[in-house]
């Protein structure tokens, strides 16, 4: 199978490529950190335990990805971040649809594992347990490893921005806070129930 050129990646499509990743640590990767229970609005799903049944991720994957997305798009007072818009909840749902790019699931899961392994290697603790500053440094180091890692970050960013600025019907953009953060006027009519946005093909 021919390796796809990364130069052909467009911003609006997500294409996978061969990931020759020897998951040598997989047999050891059995203990995940517990995410501290933070005070949050009742309709935010920062912690997998608070969320209705997961569709794509395990609880531990979910919590790890929440931490990653939080650093890709952190929260601010006047500008919603990934947590504020339930970006991981959105991701868990959107990747479960029949029109999802299923290769992205592998890319995201494996990339998240690699970030956690890097954190263990550099800081000797799991990514979720790091301070925000150290998480940012790990992500920067991850970015500098190579093309595969950078591609993972782009894939994550696409979904995070979809969560920020897509219709709340998909699970993100809670209370339209993403739109409000950027003064974006959405168009009408909006879908009013999930059945209206089910995949066609």
């Amino acid at each position: 199978m021919k390796k796809k050129s990364l130069n052909k990646i467009q911003t609006t499509t997500r294409r996978s490529f061969l990931v020759n990743l020897p998951i040598v640590f997989s047999s050891c990767y059995i203990i995940f950190s517990e995410v501290a229970c933070l005070k949050k609005p009742i309709n935010n799903f920062w912690n997998a335990k608070d969320k209705p049944s997961l569709k794509t991720f395990t609880e531990k994957e979910y919590n790890l990805i929440t931490s990653i997305q939080d650093r890709l798009l952190p929260s601010d007072k006047d500008f919603s971040g990934a947590k504020d818009v339930n970006a991981t909840y959105f991701l868990d749902l959107i990747l479960n649809r029949s029109d999802a790019d299923k290769e992205d699931i592998n890319i995201i899961k494996q990339g998240a594992i690699e970030i956690d392994l890097l954190s263990l290697k550099v800081e000797q603790i799991y990514f979720n347990d790091l301070s925000d500053d150290k998480k940012d440094k790990i992500l920067k180091s991850f970015f500098e490893i190579g093309k595969k890692e950078r591609y993972f970050l782009r894939v994550m960013m696409i979904y995070t921005l979809e969560a920020l600025l897509g219709d709340p019907i998909y699970g993100g953009n809670v209370s339209e806070s993403g739109w409000k953060s950027l003064n974006h006027q959405a168009g009408f009519p909006r879908p009013s129930n999930i059945e209206q946005v089910l995949p066609t093909y």
Partner: protein, 579 residues
């Protein structure tokens, strides 16, 4: 709409494909009193199915099939290996599907409408040959098509105002039937900048109603036009403009979710029936006196090539080997520029912040220009100014990825997003130039790849990156016209401005493949877009074009389809019923 085995046969006209090419014929023939069936591969969506849903409408396959199930193959030349490489569109990051639904991609168009110019019909005679390009004059003139451009203004609902400029269209009516749409204040800025440069900006005609009709509402100015379907019926899609009136005659049947895979001919070479997979994947058949194929160029050529018969061993109407040849795209370029709110006065910020969605300004001052080297007249192109696409997700992703550092994230990204969305406004321009038809850009059947119905898919060969004089000519032309657009941006005072003149194939503007002409040896169709070889076959999408002009194709396709409809009605015996 009906499906299954309850289908009446012996229609007067069977139309395959319900977009801009097929639908005008459906209406005109059914209004004339004849029975029509329209067979459409995609679903029958209507206004209740359309939302301004950023994710579902634009970023998922709501209106186009999955490339894993219905791919095309793309053959491109690899400079590194010096060989042609054949890749599925799933991997090659192309998508030639533009809207598989009743009404086709016209449901999703932005509706920027331009007519071709009289000399576009005589490109070869007027501007001469280009080495390696198969330029051919049209066998009809602008004057033959003009009445139908005018008819389309009323039928489709084209709004605009006639403004004189050096390449203004010759018209048989003094003005458009619908006044121009409301405009953003930036339109006046562009007018001023253009005039200061000695240019002639004019309002772009739009296939969007500016006032309601009996059956359609006018524009609601959401600004979500391109890639979105219209909820008010203001957009002149083939479905609302032509199929809805056709259905009301009770003589037009629409069969949706029906994939036609073969056109069957008898030993004398006449089409006897078509075969298609219905909604339950069962094979059905139906017949008619005349058959019209209008599936957009790539799929039209594919269907003809699939429809071999005893008289057509190389595919329907392909005994001269010309089906699929001389495929056309539009040679496109683009430009962009920002207005930074922090650097302009509050009055201008207030104007820029207006939520009016439409700029609607074009320049055709460079439709013909003096070649800087030869000093001879050279065919140029059209420049359309508009706002960047309203989907915020695409803009946000571009903001994150459009950096030398590959990706921005974190607070750095958020700062850029805030600036993009809250403290600046962004305009773009699009350039349309002639695509040179060559032997290296064409459609054929792939020898191996099949779709989910186990039918060979189309292979699109793209020779636009070959080092040829024809390609160089195209790139030089786009570069020149785009650079003129850039000068307008400079005059406007935009920042972060740039332009791109790659002349890449525009997957949403495809034509050619079954060109019309007077000589059966060099063309597939006659002047009425009837096959030279197959008496009861017409092709009504953009396949007929030998060249496309330096404009988007849709108005020309609508007009030509109306012209073909007149001819088919005459062949059927003239108008029977005016109801």
């Amino acid at each position: 709409m009906i499906s299954g085995n309850n289908i009446m046969n012996d229609f007067d006209v069977c139309i395959i494909g319900s977009g801009a090419g097929g639908s005008p014929i459906a209406k005109q023939v059914s209004i004339a009193g004849y029975s029509v069936v329209v067979v459409e591969k995609g679903p029958f969506f209507t206004e209740k199915d359309f939302f301004k849903d950023e994710i579902g409408e634009c970023r998922r396959n709501k209106y186009t099939p999955k490339l894993s199930e219905e791919p095309h193959m793309v053959e491109t030349y690899d400079d590194e290996t010096n060989s042609w490489e054949n890749t599925s569109t799933l991997e090659a990051n192309y998508d030639f599907w533009n809207g598989c639904m009743v009404g086709g991609s016209s449901n999703l168009m932005s509706g920027f409408f331009h007519r071709m110019k009289p000399f576009d019909f005589k490109l070869k005679t007027t501007f001469g040959d280009i080495e390696g390009a198969n330029i051919a004059d049209w066998p009809i003139s602008y004057e033959d098509l003009e009445p139908y451009y005018t008819l389309a203004e009323t039928e489709v609902g084209i709004s605009g105002v006639v403004v004189d400029h050096p390449f203004a269209d010759k018209r048989s009516t003094p003005n458009f039937p619908y006044e121009p749409l409301r405009e953003h204040p930036l339109s006046n800025w562009i007018d001023k900048a253009g005039h200061e440069l000695g240019l002639n900006p004019f309002p772009i005609p739009r296939a969007i109603l500016s006032k309601p009709t009996e059956t359609r509402s006018s524009c609601s100015y959401t600004g979500f036009c391109g890639s979105y379907a219209c909820n008010t019926k203001a957009k002149g899609s083939a479905r609302v403009a032509f199929l809805e009136p056709a259905i009301k005659t009770n003589r037009c049947t629409i069969i949706a979710n029906a994939k036609v895979f073969k056109i069957v001919t008898n030993e004398s070479g006449k089409i006897t029936n078509i075969k298609y997979f219905d909604n339950n994947n069962k094979i059905q058949s139906l017949n008619a006196k005349y058959y019209v194929v209008a599936c957009q160029s790539i799929e039209t050529s594919r269907l003809l090539l699939l429809s071999k018969g005893s008289k057509y061993p190389n595919g329907l109407s392909n005994n001269n080997g010309l089906v699929g040849k001389n495929l056309l795209f539009t040679a496109t370029g683009s430009g962009w520029g920002d207005f930074n709110y922090h650097k302009i006065d509050s009055k201008k910020v207030k104007e820029l912040s207006s939520l009016e969605p439409f700029i609607n300004r074009a320049f055709q001052d460079f439709y013909v220009y003096s070649d800087p080297e030869t000093k001879k007249n050279r065919k140029g192109g059209t420049i359309d100014f508009l706002f960047d696409h309203p989907n915020p997700i695409s803009s946000a992703i571009s903001t994150s990825f459009n950096t030398k550092d590959y990706i921005l994230w974190g607070r750095e990204l958020k700062n850029e997003l805030e600036h993009y969305f809250k403290h600046s406004r962004h305009i773009i321009f699009e350039v349309f130039c002639d695509w040179m038809p060559t032997n290296d850009t064409n459609v054929s059947l792939d020898l191996e790849k099949k779709d989910k119905w186990d039918i060979p898919v189309a292979k699109v060969k793209l020779g636009n990156n070959l080092d040829t004089k024809a390609n160089l000519h195209t790139k030089e032309t786009v570069e020149y016209v785009a650079s003129q657009g850039y000068k307008i941006l400079e005059k406007l005072g935009t920042e972060n401005s740039g332009y791109y003149a790659g002349a890449h194939p525009s997957t949403n503007l495809v034509a050619g493949g079954c060109r019309f002409g007077l000589d059966p040896k060099t063309s597939v169709l006659n002047i009425f877009c009837q096959s030279h070889e197959v008496e009861n076959l017409f092709i009504a999408d953009g396949s007929f074009m030998p060249t496309g002009g330096s404009v988007p194709y849709t108005w020309t396709i609508y007009a030509n389809s109306l012209r073909i409809a007149d001819h088919i009605v005459k062949r059927l015996g003239g108008i029977k019923d005016k109801k």
